[in-house]
Every structure is written in C-alpha cells, then in structure tokens.
C-alpha cells in the first residue's frame, strides 16, 4: 500500500464507522419501537395537502418554489464570506454584491409577474 492510498485509509474507516452507526441506530429502533401499521402512515408528507398519487408522488408545483428557494439559499453562500471581508474589500465589493443581489431579485420579480407565486 503506497502512501497515497494510506492517506485515504481514514476515509475508509470513517465510511465503515458511519455505516455501522446508522445501522445500529436503525436496528435498535426496530427492536425497541412498537409496530402498529396504519395506511395513513404510508402517505408521503406534503405540507398538509393531499399528495398526488403515481410516479413522482409529489406535486410538480413544489419544484418552482424549490428553485426560488435555492436561488436565495446559494446567495447566502456568497454573502457570508463577503460580509466577513467587506471592510477589507471596500466600496467596489459593496457595489458588486448589490449588482449580484439585484440580478437575483430581478429573477424573483420575473417569477412573481409570471404568476408563479400564486398557488392555484
């Protein structure tokens, strides 16, 4: 075994430990928990509305909301490092971030004007 692969030994150990831990938790849960099956328990949870039966088992309208969420979620990834370094970076960084947020907001405005945000 070369040094290169030995470096990855930790990854393998970690993977085995992770599998073992998940297996132990699920296994113990199965042994301990009571078992009273009801049909309602097998319905996918969809924020309280009736799920769509069939292939995807989820309403396609969630997809657009998920996209809009991801848009601003990813924005946060960029904003945190930016905010920490803002003082050092100066005005140009402020302007760049404002432009970035404006472009993202424009996407939201477009979606809103398109009527995507109405649940009907």
């Amino acid at each position: 075994m070369t040094q290169f692969y030995r470096n990855y030994l930790a990854v393998a150990v970690f993977a085995v430990a992770a599998l073992g831990m998940v297996g132990a938790m699920l296994g113990v849960g199965r042994l301990v928990r009571p078992n009273r099956p009801q049909p309602e328990k097998y319905i996918a949870y969809e924020a309280g509305s009736d799920p769509i039966r069939g292939f995807g088992q989820s309403n396609v309208r969630y997809y657009v909301y998920a996209l809009l969420f991801v848009m601003f979620d990813v924005e946060a990834v960029f904003i945190f490092p930016w905010a920490i370094n803002l003082e050092a970076l100066g005005v140009s960084a402020l302007i760049s971030m404002i432009v970035f947020i404006l472009v993202l907001t424009l996407g939201l405005v477009y979606a809103w004007r398109k009527g995507v945000l109405r649940w009907a």
Binding site: N85, S92, A93, V103, L106, Y110, R113
Partner: protein
Amino acid sequence: MNPLGVASIVTPGVDWLGVAPVALLALAAIGIVLQRSILRRASVAYPSALIVAAVGIILSAVALIAQWHRVQTDGSYTTLSKMVAVDGFSIFIGGVVLVATACSVLLASRYLDRERLDGPEYLALMLLSASGMLAMASANDLIAVFVALEIVSIPLYVLVAYDRRRSTSLEAGMKYFLLGAFASAVFLYGVALTYGATGSTGLVGIANYLSEVTLLERGTLLAGLVLMLVGLGFKVAAAPFHMWTPDVYQGAPTPVTAFMASATKAAAFAALIRILYTALGGSSSDWRPLLWVLAVLSLLVGSIGAVIQTDVKRMLAYSSINHAGFILIGVQAGTIKGVSSALTYLAIYAFLAVGSFAIVGVVAGRGDADSDLERFKGLSSRRTGLSWAFTLLLLAQAGVPLTAGFIAKFGVFSAAAGAGGTSYVLALIGMLTAAIAAFVYLRIAATMFTPAGEGDQVLASSKVDLGTGIVIWFSCALTIVIGVAPGFLLGLAERATLLFLR
C-alpha cells in the same frame, strides 16, 4: 487581518474591455427579463426584446472589434487573475459565435410568432448561452471553462425543449439534458484529476508544471485528459459521444438546431483547442492518438450514418458529426497550421449550417412538422430560388471547389499533410468519407429537382420571412465569396492563431 482573523483577500484586477463582450450579452439578456417583467403584453414585449437583443449583439461585436485592435498593437493579455485570456483566438471564435447568434435570432424572429411561443424568454436564453460561449472562447482556467460550459449548456437544455407542446421537442430536451449533465460531470471529474496531477487549474500553470516536473506516474494526468476529452467531445458532437445529436437536432426548434450546430460547436472546439494546446501542448504525443481515433470515428459514423437516414434534419445532424471529424483532423495535427485550419473550418461551417437549417425550417413548415426527404420532392418547381440556395449550401458542405466548403476541407487536409505520419492516413480517410457524405448531399439535391409524382402529397411550406431571407442570402453570398476569394478569412484565421496566447 480583520477582527475575525480571516486573511484579507486581494481582489483581482479587471480589464473591462476584456470581459465586455461577455458582459454586454449577459446584460442584454437581463434587460430582456426586466422588460418582460414590466411589459406583459406580448405585442409590445416581443418587438422591444428583439431590439434589446440586437443592441446587445451589436455592442458585444463592437467590443470584440475594439479588443482585436488592442491585441494587434499591444499583444495578447490575460485578466481576472489569468482566468480570462484575450487573444486573437478568443476574438475569432467570439466573432463566429456572435454571427451565428445574430443569424439564429433572425431565424427565430418570425418562427416564434408562427409557433406561438414566448419570444422574450427565448431571446434571453439564447443571449445567455451565447455569452457563455464567448466566455468559453477566452477561458484560460479549467474552472472558468467549466463555468462557461454550464452557462452555455443550461439555457440550451431549455431552448431544445422550448416548444413544450410538441412531444418531440420535449423528448429532445430531456435527452440532451440527461446526457449533457452527465458529460459535464465527466468533464469536471477530468478537471479534478488534472488538478490532482499538476496542482493547478490554470492552463498556463499546468503547462509550466509539466515543463518543469517529470511525472513519475502519469496515470492521473492521462485519466484527467481522457475525461476532459469525453466531456468536450460530447459538446462538439464527435463520435463516439454523438448519440444525442440526431435526436436532439431533429426534435429541437429549427432556429435552436441552427444555433447548436454553428455556435455551440465553435465554442466547444475553442475550449478543446485551448486546453490541448495551451495546457497540454508539451505532451501532444499523448493526445494526438486519442484525437486521431475520435476523428476517424466521427468521420465514419457521420458519413455512413447520414446515408441511411430519410429525414433531412437527421441527415444534417449526421453531417455535423462528419464535419466535427474534419475539424478534429485539423486539431490533431498539433501545429499552428492545424489550429488556423480548424478556425477557418469552424467559421465556414457555422454559416453553412445556419443557412441549411434555415431552409429546412422553411420547408418543414408549421410546427417543424415534417422534414422528411419526401417533402423536398419537386421543391425546385415550387420554390426555385430556395432549392438552388439549398443546393449551393449542400455542395459547399460536400466540399465542391469554388465554394467555401472546399477552402475549409483543403485547409484541414493540408494541415494534416504538413503534420505527416499517421495524419496522412487520417486525411485519406477524410477524403473517403467526404465522398460518402457527398452522396447524401447530392441525394437531397437530386430529390429537390425530381418532379413530384401523382401520388406524392405536396404539403405547403411556409413563406420565407424577412429574417430567414436575410440569413439564407447571407450564407449563400458568403459561401461563394469565400469560395472564390478566401484570402480575407484565411488571413484573419492566421492572424488569430499567431496571437494565440500560450
């Protein structure tokens, strides 16, 4: 150090002229989305979006010309901490992409009305994709190549499936999306392995490392090279990564097909050439055999596949695979001459493809209903001008002398002959497949000049609108002008290659 103990970041200097062509196209796309949010009436929104798109393309072209003049006097340069290279090569490819984009917008201008599709969104997506292509042409870092590749691809996935009431368009979009996402992932894996082997993602950094250090174990680097070739081979539609091409070219709305065949191919080849020549230029003995195999497969699959098709759009899709093979002949030569011949070929093929697909779009009629070869029967008696224009473009694609296609093919063959060795064999195979492909082109031409029989249904084709007319005239005129007097284009390509930053 700031209060939180994080080392401060040095922001890279920005040369605004260097990024202007990309930024202006993206700005135009954002402008279209903005005015679409304000103007809801399609009758107002679409014409104004067309104007914004035209202004964006023209301004971007002006910025490219300004770059060209600057590069002529001051030489090539990089900006954004060597992420972006501004050199003759990037400007040449950028010009090809912009011309192809302008043609595709012209083709789409009436098409979208005819098919009752949303106009502004289409234009915004097309401009975004084109801005990614410009970024790809000047990307000087593997990460920049990947980001540009995604900017190109994601709008294209949507554009291919744009006619969402037509199941063929949706199917094509789905196929392109699944395979394209897979190809992007493979490319990224290749980038990761190359970085692992050389410790740099910058193309120049990789080249420097490889020239200073002799790798004991070359496996990682070679695996990275192969995976990057797979990813880019998919985008340029080279066999054996061509499976999607016929289905997607056939199903996509015709202006999108024209855009993909011309602009996407040029941009993907730009990235391929830059990675191979700049980063791996010293180890060309590694990638030349790989490209040799890709070229042979593309030439054979493209020409033989086209023979058995009965749909003209599919025939042109296979011919586009065949053309990818010809361009690969130039690329694999590994010489300056090879690069400039590939550039010339890309420029010429761009307007040949746009013109051909424009005519197919007209003949196929409403809803891209039917581009079957049967439908072209007797076209010469119904639409004389159109059938002659198509014949000219097809002859050019076959490489008949005195057309632009001959100049393109002659260039790659002489580059291969200059490289010698196995490239000779490749040139011979190329000529053989050119003959096979010529059969396909002549078959389409002959069908147009065969009178329609009694039993044949003569379906109404649509009219040639202003935008499509301009595109067809433009590509036919260029075909003849460049065929007779190729000096200008060849000079440009040569100049662009000499200014290729390495």
